[in-house]
């Protein structure tokens, strides 16, 4: 294996054994995703003023950098704009390891010969990479053997790496494609550690739905920061995509003027849901409930119920759909049937035979603690919220939102470095 740090600043020799200069940087061909080949070497201290040497004139890189031809026959390389300079843009930068789903710093880069060309194989993010840069690799090995631990070199294959440099739109979009495939909670954790400029640039390329999912998992500070860097129209679109309870939490943290503007830009129906949620205190059932829940009318058969659900927008939007709620004409809760029972039941029988009529429910102003307690006590997956005045069903609190009392999702990622 050849390490980039061992090559940099080394003499470059021509085919006749005379020094043509020192290696300043290596350009790789960024259009190749898996194992990008070296496109050119960048030289310094060359008396003839040659800057780039094309890769096909390299004879070897290790143990010494030697060219195939004499200094007078070097045909300089002219960059096409698709190269990535490793020293300038990759080494020492932060990148996302999409396999390990974490933010890492590039300590070194691994190169290899593959048939007739040299390629970049991976990124060294380990402590031994750091020691190599410090010229302390042997020292590290000695210490390692003292503790009976072999110093592992952790190399992430280049194809699993997403660069997050924000001044290069082309490469950023490649990274976005890799990132979007990660679970939203992992993206949120990474984005929480990044600086604001990078975050904004990175998330710009996400579609509204992916962005909404990521935001739901992010800390309140980050949600605000990201939305405040967007046009109000896009911010409103993203709020529509988010679960109404999450959107309401976010809007509740904003200054009144801003939240009003955004609500005004949202679709009427979504905005109404969010407005209702905003009227309840944050630590009550009303504050943590979601207004999108699967429901069916009473007096229908199991088959009709399933068909109804398939076409119901509310069922589509239900975060989890553990239970199906049976509502009467006045939207009063008549009973609950679990999705399991609904699927297992005889399609032609009436729904009423399977429903659980005595449902544990809460009121919008029931404290969050009490909600969590009831959900835990009765082993529920969600609990209906009923308006005490007219018995209308308003929404459900799901188990994950209820246990936030015990285990908050928006963990403060960083202690305020505050005095």
């Amino acid at each position: 294996m050849i390490y980039f740090s061992q090559l940099i600043n080394q003499n470059v020799w021509d085919g006749f054994g005379s020094v043509v200069g020192k290696l300043e940087d290596i350009l790789i061909d960024a259009t190749e995703k898996k194992m990008p080949p070296i496109a050119a070497l960048s030289l310094k201290n060359n008396p003839a003023g040659i800057k780039y040497i094309p890769a096909n004139q390299i004879a070897s890189l290790w143990p010494s950098i030697t060219l195939r031809v004499g200094v007078d026959r070097i045909r300089p390389y002219s960059p096409t704009g698709h190269e990535l300079p490793l020293l300038d843009r990759v080494l020492d930068q932060q990148i996302v390891d999409t396999e390990g789903k974490r933010l890492v710093r590039v300590n070194d880069l691994q190169l290899a010969r593959s048939r007739d060309q040299f390629v970049l194989t991976g990124v060294d993010v380990s402590g031994s990479g750091l020691l190599r840069r410090l010229g302390l690799e042997k020292f590290g090995r000695t210490i390692g053997s003292m503790f009976k631990k072999s110093q592992e070199t952790v190399v992430i294959p280049w194809e699993f790496v997403a660069s997050i440099e924000h001044d290069d739109p082309l490469r950023l979009s490649v990274s976005q494609n890799k990132l979007v495939k990660m679970p939203p909670a992992d993206i949120a954790a990474i984005v929480d550690e990044l600086d604001h400029h990078t975050t904004t640039a990175l998330l710009e390329g996400f579609d509204n739905e992916a962005l909404a999912d990521t935001l739901e998992e992010s800390s309140a500070d980050l949600q605000m920061a990201i939305l405040s860097h967007m046009t109000p129209e896009r911010a409103a679109d993203i709020l529509e995509e988010m679960d109404p309870d999450e959107a309401a939490d976010l809007l509740a943290d904003m200054p009144d003027g801003t939240s009003e503007t955004l609500l005004g830009l949202m679709e009427k129906e979504e905005a109404l849901d969010v407005r209702t949620l905003l009227t309840y205190p944050e630590d009550t059932a009303g504050g943590i409930m979601t207004t999108e829940f699967a429901n069916v009318p009473e007096n229908i058969t199991v088959r009709e119920a399933i068909d109804y659900l398939r076409n119901s927008e509310e069922a589509q939007e239900d975060e989890v759909m553990y239970y199906v709620h049976i509502l009467d004409q006045a939207e009063r809760l008549n009973g609950i049937i679990t999705l399991r029972d609904l699927v297992m039941a005889d399609p032609e029988r009436s729904l009423d035979q399977w429903k659980e009529p005595d449902v544990i429910s809460v009121e919008p102003l029931t404290p969050q603690n009490e909600v969590a307690y009831l959900i835990a006590k009765y082993d529920l997956l969600s609990i209906p919220v009923i308006d005490p005045e007219n018995n209308r069903m308003l929404g459900i609190v799901t188990v994950d939102d209820a246990i936030d009392v015990v285990l908050p999702t928006a963990w403060k990622k960083r202690l305020p470095r505050l005095f």
């Binding site: 020492d92 932060q94 710093r105 600086d195 963990w411 470095r417 005095f419």
Partner: protein, 419 residues
Amino acid sequence: MKKIRIPGWLKRVGLYLAVLGPGLITASADNDAPGIATYSMAGSTYGYQFLSIILIVTIGEVVIQEMAARMGVVTGKGTADLIRERFGVKITAFAMLALLLANLGTTVAQFAGIAASAELFGISRYIAAPVAAIVVSLAVLRGSYKYIEKILLILSLSAISYVITVILIRPPWEEVLRATLVPQFELEPNFIIAVLATIGTTITPWGIFYLQASVADKGLAVSDYKYTRLDVTFGATWGNIISAFIVISTAATLFVHGIAVESAEQAAMVLEPLAGSWAKILFSAGLLGASLLAVAVLPLSTTYAVCEAFGFERGLNRKFNEAPVFYFMYIGIIAISVLIVLIPGIPLFPIMWLSQTLNAVLLPVLLVLVLKLTNNDQLMGDWKNKRFQNILAVGLTVFISLVTLALLVTSLMGMSPIF
């Protein structure tokens, strides 16, 4: 692209920043335990003539802090990140070692402050320092630090009592003014140590890292930078006005009677015109509050900076075995600091200003890097240093280096057996 722009909202942000932004908070940290100790020692030993040093240091602090804040706004990144990305591993390792040493010294000083204030109440330092270390680090690690933060902030506000004291004792203002504007230096090791300690406690490596990080974390737009600059300038000036009042009050009450402060007991006497027999309590409450606050913040932000630079896993939301370096370093800084304070017979008050001398000696390392970064076209673009900023900052760096050299020379010549 159009941004979300609600006039009232932005105005409020601007106002908030101007009133209590990161700059003001950072500058308030000038008057932490080592700060109070240093200014009390300097004022009581050298009288009003020391005010001219405060004036020079104020200008230096404004220039340096402004550079740090500007880097934070323009790049959105922390100081450690930039050093690593621009200068590579070797220089980063050197800079981080300097930071770690300086902050370790300052943490020792904070524990000395805790021990000194406890001893004023007759509580042994062998109880106070370990208990404080355990309580604070548990609070920080469990994330419940926010709750105690406010109490501590109020305690540390007692620095204002120096201002009231000065108003009560009516110092000879004419003499005060003359001493401020006419610099006087003595080529004598103890005076040089006092100068270095004043520089080191006002313009701290930690302050630079902290300010840049908190400005970057806020994710401000470059167009709003003028508010930050105002905040930084105002904060630094205000912090140093308080420092000047400590010098004036100690000069007016102790220096005139030939008492050079060597202990917390003597330092507390300054507040007697204001608080009478309560002076001791007022003084130790202020000292304790400031020290506890710093102990909660300083080791953690140091650990974050170092881990960020080297790409180690970090953060309080990680488990111990996920981020071993982070936790070991955090606990290590606190443990070593407590142990040093517990060395039998170690003089608590002198530790506080000697640690700040160390800060000043290490500061040029960081200043050179900050200067290179703020002059980098690629990084700062239109926001790179102006000529006068460079002149002032280079002047300060040279000044500190010369003073350090003077300290070495005078100590070697045996003018005073301090080293």
